[in-house]
Amino acid sequence: MAKPKVAFYWNASCGGCEEAVVDLAEDILKVVEAVDIIFWPVALDFKRSDIEAMDDGEIAVSFINGAIRTEEQEEMVKLLRRKSGLVVAFGSCAHIGGIPGLANFWNRDTIFERAYKEVPSVENPEGIFPRTETQLGNESLTLPEFHNTVRTLGQVIDVDYYLPGCAPPPESIMDAVTAILEGKLPEKGTVLAPDKSLCDTCPRTESKPEKISIKEIKRPHEITPDPEKCFLEEGIICLGPATRSGCGERCINANMPCRGCFGPITGVGDHGARSLSFIASILGLEDEKKMTEEDVQGLIDKIADPAGLFYMYSLPSSLLKRRKMV
């Protein structure tokens, strides 16, 4: 029997998801033995035309990482969708928008202005900006359109499963691949990670007091956190309570708080708003009755960039999706 065909593709991403596949180490041999990788731009020289020549649904599964920022990315994922039986949104950016999604605090014009004019390392007195078509003698050169707004993969095509994480850990990639090969798949639309919060599996949960009251917000660089204590206890914002478990507590074990790359647990519609909510609830909890509005404001002012912090990975998938542009 022919081996199932598998594709890997990347969009607005950092390359870390490709690295995560390489991090499968020896396990990648098992994958290669079981499947036929027919498309993987980072490693194999196959072209878009090769995909176009395939029958619809011929690819068993496409693992697509990255958010959708350009016209080309949109075309490619629509093509892969048509040619694939299953599409797995691979990693935070495809799943919830990820770090590239933070660009939704700006738009195309402000990003171009910054990147092609303002940054100190750029000199562009004529104000030349990328455009979709440039005439060069008799030739016309084209570039894909750069969209105003970054979208998640699921906002552009129908997605069957989500493999969360920045990047997804090798174990969960192997679990997903095995489940697909064995046909033991959960309901369509499932996020392939435990439906528990990170706090449920965090090694610091045990010592965590029942009631936490943050007296003062601290940023991770301002103190050396006690490696035994829950970050919230020390006044460091940790998104563990609203974030899905399954990463192996990578940041926590490196003595850094969670920033939410696994996305929200089931039932949370807006990861950032939920995080904002629980942080606000425990801010100055002990003295909340004695505090004046100014006291509360003073505590809040210590959160330098709430939107960037609470929506660090999830802005495009949030309710507001982006900053309102004038």
């Binding site: 707004t149 807006d270 708003a273 505590l299 959160i303 939107a307 507001l320 982006r322 309102k324």
Partner: protein, 137 residues
């Protein structure tokens, strides 16, 4: 942006079931047809999470007001939570280029429906100045 002609402001007022709502029912509901705001009764203003406020905005609300009990009068201490959340959400909304004044939290005791009516009116006046919230896509 100013109010567009013929467009009525869409204002949501989340009202606490225990203090504000009973009085409000007597004073406002008979002429509800004419009010420019809709009330949603909640069991405590502390239950109005930021997700609900944001959802109201994505569904076309121009402004959202939370009407809760004054500090010492809430049986659930939810009003203290609401105050902290509203202040934090205001700061966050600013980063989304949304006027923080589009969210308001006011305290009312049982029987203060006149005060509530006035507050809502003042709130609406201000929000009409801002006009509809046109979110970018």
């Amino acid at each position: 942006m100013k109010k567009k002609q013929g467009e009525n402001p869409k204002i949501i007022v989340f009202c606490c079931n225990w203090s504000v709502n009973p009085g409000l029912r007597l004073s406002v509901f008979p002429d509800e047809e004419e009010t420019t705001f809709k009330t949603i009764v909640t069991m405590c203003c502390g239950r109005v999470g930021p997700e609900l406020i944001l959802e109201a905005f994505t569904r076309g609300a121009w402004g959202v007001m939370l009407a809760g009990c004054p500090p010492e009068e809430c049986e659930h201490d939810g009003n203290y939570k609401a105050r902290k959340r509203v202040l934090l959400i205001k700061k966050t909304l600013e980063q989304f280029n949304i006027e923080p004044e589009r969210v308001a939290l006011e305290w009312f005791s049982t029987g203060e429906s006149d005060k509530l009516k006035k507050s809502v009116e003042t709130f609406i006046e201000k929000i009409v100045e801002y006009g509809p919230l046109e979110l970018s896509s």
